[in-house]
Amino acid sequence: MSGRTGGPRGTGSAGAAPRISHATGDRFPGFDVLAQSGHWDAVTAGVVLSRVGRPPDIRFFTPAEEAAATALCDRLLGQDDGEPKVEVVPSIDARLAEQQTDGWRYADMPQDGQAWRDTLRFLDSDSRDACSRDFALAPADDQRAVIQAVQDLGAKDWHGLNAAHVWSLWTRYACTAFYAHPSAWNEIGFPGPAYPRGYKNPGVNAREPFEVADAAPADDPVDGKDR
């Protein structure tokens, strides 16, 4: 049951998770979380591998909402280069259909499902005001401008809602769906499930045989290399 046999392209693979890292450069070349899936317990493997399979059908969003949500989430998550990408909207839709919320809402916000519906409609209306097109059909730069305007409001009012609470709703759902996906883990060098194997080499600059060193360790986002 040792992970030591599994190099970056090791044993027990369930097929590689699609590489999505155009935006970030491939910092962990050859690192593939799924190459280790043969070392995961069956219950965890069932849950995680279902995310790389066919996404669930849309049940909650209307087609118009689905389109707006897809554009919103792709912009929020920087999925700007087309395929392959992580499909987050089907998993957000599934959570809303099942009312699998975080178990709380701000008193000044509707329940999560309704809040999603309302805010997607507001995005369409802002987009039509800005460029006479529904949000999903607007050019990516215009979509970004509409989103940026919401963030810039801080805690001020946006269509009757506290913009900061709207921002929290969107980013929470989008980030949870995205960073649950093995493709996202490949991009950040995180090996995902670790049971029953565990880790043998914790510590600064210590790696397991199946972990891959960052190819750009000095690529500090603060150095202003981006933007």
């Binding site: 890292s21 935006a23 970030t24 450069g25 317990d41 219950v43 965890t44 849950v47 995680v48 912009r75 929020l76 998550l77 920087g78 700007d80 699998q100 975080d102 178990g103 709380w104 809402r105 701000y106 008193a107 000044d108 970004r144 989103i147 963030q151 929290s168 980013t171 980030c175 949870t176 769906a177 960073y179 649950a180 996202a184 883990w185 991009e187 950040i188 060098g189 995180f190 995902g192 499930p193 670790a194 049971y195 029953p196 194997r197 880790y199 080499n201 914790p202 510590g203 600064v204 210590a206 790696r207 060193a213 960052d214 360790p217 000095a218 500090d220 986002p221 603060v222 981006d226 933007r227």
Partner: protein, 542 residues
Amino acid sequence: MTTVRERNESAWLLPNDGSRTNHRLRADMRRFADSDTVDLVVVGCGAGGSTLLQRLARHGWRVVGLDAGPFWDPDADWVSDEAGSHHLYWTEPRVISGADPVPMGSNNSGRGVGGSMVHYAGYTPRFHPSDFATRTNDGVGADWPIGYQDLRPYYEDIEQELPVAGEDWPWGDPHGYPQRPHPVGGNGEIFLRGAYAAGITAKVGPVAISNGRFGNRPHCVYRGFCLQGCKVNAKASPLITHIPDALAHGAEIRANAMITGIGFDERTGRATGVHYIRGGVPRFQRAAAVAVAGYSIETPRLLLNSASRRFPDGLCNDFDQVGRYLMVQGAPQTAGRFDAEVRMYKSPPPEVSTEEFYETDPAQPYKRGFSIQTVSPLPITWAEHVAAQGHWGARLRRYMSDYVHWSCLGALCEFLAQPGNRVTLAEEKDRYGLPVASFSYSQCDNDKRLMRAAQGVMERILRAAGADEVITIDRYAHLVGGARMAADERHGVVDRDCRSFAVPNLYITDGSVLPTQGSANPALTIMAVSARAAAHLAAGGR
């Protein structure tokens, strides 16, 4: 002196064949009928509830513990994955409000046997002696009706039962731990290095994670998923530290049973049992005494939802105390960036702490203090930290791709108890038709000052360790209070032994009874308070 095993055999009642649940013990569990008047029914099988059940079952009491959630099997029900662990949290709706509302989510309380300790981090510090008299000493908060010395023997007992691993502890009442400290991972290493360079004392521990085999519980495998439920049985939760022994001594655990009200007899003025719904069917368990241990939100909510002619504003609420003086700890989280790889996801998030800033420092413009600990968020929680800096789009992805280079510390600031921070009932109903909890929070100036002071110290430590950038997110942790213990019924809901002032056979034995919170994580203290209440009941308080 008795050995741990003689007092609590739980760890030896678990299987030693690589599986995690003793199914035989559960199948053979004693079962009571609703019409049996059991000696005690306990609402909620978390930190406080399970400790009480185990103690009184040992004393021969006929006890039943009901929990709204499942009777977990770590093998079948838990995963080594962040998003897949959503079912561990209490996700029935709650409404948050106030000037500084407290979001919950994955930082939410738990649901199911083991309670919130199933997904708690595992830090188990004691409170300091000063925590029990902050009103007298510092002019803030409240004095407890008991002192540190009253809890001390119970701290020692529970530390052995969990068991707790850590270095000799120099703060508060100095003490040692039953197990040696764990080796640290990258995040702990950074904290120790930075603290040393900054002239701050930091220590490894105290964590309720077995360092070595304990009974049939194996050693930690340093996989970092403590907040998702420990599939290894290395991290302590009542599911493995107290429930097995309770079952072996004739307690019944009735899972998936949502308590909807506490039965009350207008004529005798006593509690008669609990109304609950199981499998959609409304039922009533008769009992000679009732203990409520449903967490600081659900406990006050249940009391408020249990109104009667005698208690029109909710059970035990004669003096408008129920739901008040709720406290969270301010838990700002500061991360530092290193060119080296830290890979903080390897090793348990709870590793190293300092309590050097715990006590009131007369030189500072605030009372009381804070502690600092490693926190090591996994990717989804880390994304929340990064997104809170305002990053989104390509910039968010760039920041996130840098994950292996970050080290992350968290503070626990002692927010002060205030009457307006409270649980009330919302208009909205849950699927049982019961009004959900509305939870309002506003910080006072002292709270805000502590947040910034703690952030400053975390930045100092990380910079001293060599970080070239630090980023902070304001978070909150560890709800306690809401039905506090006090000297009399005008200032609290229960007395020093956790017995309610208003109803002589009604007890509250969870985090709700804490009048102050210090800057220690609360689970150990909750268990110690409950164990003390159990000793009082066993000695004839029945």
